[in-house]
């Protein structure tokens, strides 16, 4: 959370995250670039430019694969949520690695001609009507362009400027970009390989991304089925005995939005489940120091009014609640973001004052 924009709001966990990431990338590149040539028994070495391009290209693919596995892993197992916390830095680093790959390729294969190397990239191969020999470079250009757009707009400034839903939609471009990378590799280097280690790793990585997303989608669908509400003036959320102090129950409303009903100090309050930062699932967070804390990036809100504590300015919609016997019911019509709502006392929980 921030009240002003700084390039990076460093904290201990971000430092650890970035150092581990950099160490992994450095080790990959070092081993590929400097250890493997000694093992290869080639009569003459691969050109350094091609060797470098391959190292950075392979590294970018592995990084992108890992990045895309983090999301579904965190949905399937909450212990992976810390990997989500600083994933943007991972993405920006991947962009730099991918740019390095592209630079080596352009400065080698597309240089030394009388034409401009960037123009040559577009006209050297125009066999668009065939699969084998297709100009696979266009897939790389698309993927790299998307990565650059995502890296440039990764800062919170752009999220605030574009609004979270628009920003999120733009960043979903990572999926067509990954598919484009898969096409780039499949129609390019894979067509030339006699050794199949890269083919196996490539297929395994791309399959892992696909399978994990499928599993996460099935998992989410099952959860949604259990919490989907039928249209009504007041919607049953749960029995109050199911509520736990400091935690929430989530309900999927008929309009497709999710509401998170929290029990704090023995009183019930409801806010939107979508964090104003990146639409993180607030209902899967918990109350820390009287504030709902998002499990993704730790953004906090007062559960009674949906407002972030001063000096922060983020707000989420609130909802009206009522008790019908021991049933907790919510009005599906959201209040404007930041609207204070009186909490509803729980008949089963002791009402306390102060921090949870």
């Amino acid at each position: 959370m921030s009240v002003k924009y700084v390039p990076v709001q460093w904290n201990k966990n971000k430092w650890i995250y970035d150092w581990v990431m950099l160490l992994g990338v450095a080790v990959f590149l070092y081993v590929f670039l400097y250890a493997s040539p000694g093992i290869l028994s080639h009569e003459r070495p691969i050109n350094p430019q091609v060797h470098n391009a391959r190292a950075f290209g392979a590294c970018a693919f592995v990084m992108l694969t890992v990045i895309l596995c983090i999301g579904p892993l965190a949905r399937l197992d909450k212990r992976f949520l810390p990997l989500l916390y600083n994933r943007r830095h991972f993405g920006v680093m991947t962009t730099f690695v991918a740019i390095t790959h592209a630079s080596y390729i352009i400065d080698w294969y597309f240089a030394f001609a009388s034409s401009d190397k960037y123009e040559a990239l577009l006209f050297a191969n125009t066999s668009y009507g065939q699969l084998s020999g297709f100009p696979f470079e266009v897939f790389g250009i698309f993927a790299l362009s998307v990565l650059i757009i995502l890296a440039v707009t990764s800062h919170d400034f752009w999220m605030k400027f574009l609004t979270a839903p628009v920003w999120k939609r733009i960043h979903y471009l990572i999926y067509p970009a990954y598919l484009s990378v898969v096409a780039h590799v499949s129609l390019g280097i894979l067509q030339d390989q006699q050794a199949h280690a890269f083919t196996v790793i490539f297929i395994s990585g791309a399959t892992a991304v696909g399978v994990l997303h499928l599993l996460a989608a099935i998992h989410e669908r099952r959860q949604d089925k259990a919490i989907t509400a039928q249209p009504a003036t007041w919607i049953d959320v749960c029995d109050v005995s199911d509520m736990t102090e400091g935690f929430a129950r989530i309900k999927l409303l008929p309009d497709g939005k999710r509401v998170a009903v929290f029990l704090m100090d023995g009183q019930l309050s409801a806010i939107s489940n979508a964090c104003a930062h990146q639409n993180g699932p607030l209902g899967e967070g918990r109350i820390i120091a009287c504030l709902v804390t998002c499990p993704w990036h730790g953004f906090q809100y007062n559960v009674r009014n949906g407002q972030s504590p001063a000096p922060f300015t983020e707000k989420v919609p609130t909802y009206n609640l009522r008790m019908q016997g021991t049933s907790v019911q919510v009005d599906p019509n959201a209040n404007p973001p930041g609207t204070p709502v009186d909490p509803v006392p729980s008949p089963l929980h002791p009402q306390t004052e102060g921090a949870t």
């Binding site: 650890i16 810390p82 009388s114 066999s127 890269f198 918990r286």
Partner: protein, 253 residues
């Protein structure tokens, strides 16, 4: 839903104890995994072949007869320790450029050529120095090269640019290199057909259009692909010239 016995991570706070061991294991797995992948992928690269710029030979200067196929060649008449008389060298300029402008006026004449040799097996090329330092006419009678027709052949293999194939780039062939090969061919570098089976003792044939003209543009779509194509093969000294018939070109799966 959430339960209070599970550790909860907040980015700007210290990680809860039970989660630390898990995250430490992930960190170790990440670094070791990246090292293992770097090594596996690094050692899985194919041999790019023996082609190379022979800088170790030093600058080579020989005299010979300039011929056009239409791509310029020199048939060496006065060689040296490295390049024997009778050797045919394909000629190319710096980068992805031809030497047509300098060689065409000298067709059929004796000339002194100077540059760096590129060599891959029995495929030889000379990258000429700039201007008259690279190629210049010399006095003397130029003997005519005999041409020995070897008949019509159906060959399987790959169209490459002769320079990258000969060693300007390693690897210098294959689909990942297709755009580069096309750029070389557009620049006038002699194209070479790499046959899967030897033809009269050689797997490399300089490839031209059906009438001995430049490689047809329609063939550019099939550069670097595994194809079959028919045409007439002719021996010119130690070099084979393959006049392809573009209508017979087929892509092999």
């Amino acid at each position: 839903m959430s339960s209070n016995n599970k550790p909860f991570f907040v980015g700007y706070l210290s990680a809860p104890g039970p989660l630390r061991r898990f995250l430490l294991a992930i960190c170790v797995l990440f670094i070791v995994g990246f090292a293992a992948l770097g090594l596996t992928l690094g050692v899985a690269q194919d041999d790019p072949g023996p082609g190379a710029f022979r800088f170790d030979y030093g600058r080579q200067t020989v005299t010979g007869v300039i011929e056009l196929t239409p791509y310029p060649l020199v048939r060496v008449t006065i060689g040296n320790d490295r390049i024997k008389p009778g050797t045919t060298l394909m000629l190319a300029g710096q980068g992805k450029s031809s030497v047509d402008k300098r060689a065409i006026p000298l067709e059929g004449q004796l000339a002194k050529v100077s540059g760096v040799v590129l060599q891959r097996g029995d495929l030889n090329m000379l990258q000429l120095r700039g201007g008259r330092n690279g190629i210049s006419a010399v006095e003397g009678a130029a003997s005519k090269q005999t041409r020995e027709p070897l008949g019509r052949w159906k060959l399987a293999g790959e169209i490459c640019d002769g320079k990258c194939l000969a060693g300007a780039m390693r690897p210098g062939r294959g689909l990942a290199h297709k755009a580069c090969a096309n750029l070389c061919l557009l620049g006038g570098v002699p194209p070479v057909f790499v046959s899967t089976q030897e033809v009269d003792g050689s797997e490399f044939l300089l490839i031209t259009g059906p009438d001995g003209d430049a490689l047809p543009k329609s063939a550019y779509d099939y550069v670097a692909q595994f194809i079959t194509v028919e045409g007439d093969v002719e021996r010119r000294g130690d070099l084979l010239v393959f006049r392809m018939d573009p209508d017979t070109l087929e892509v092999l799966e």
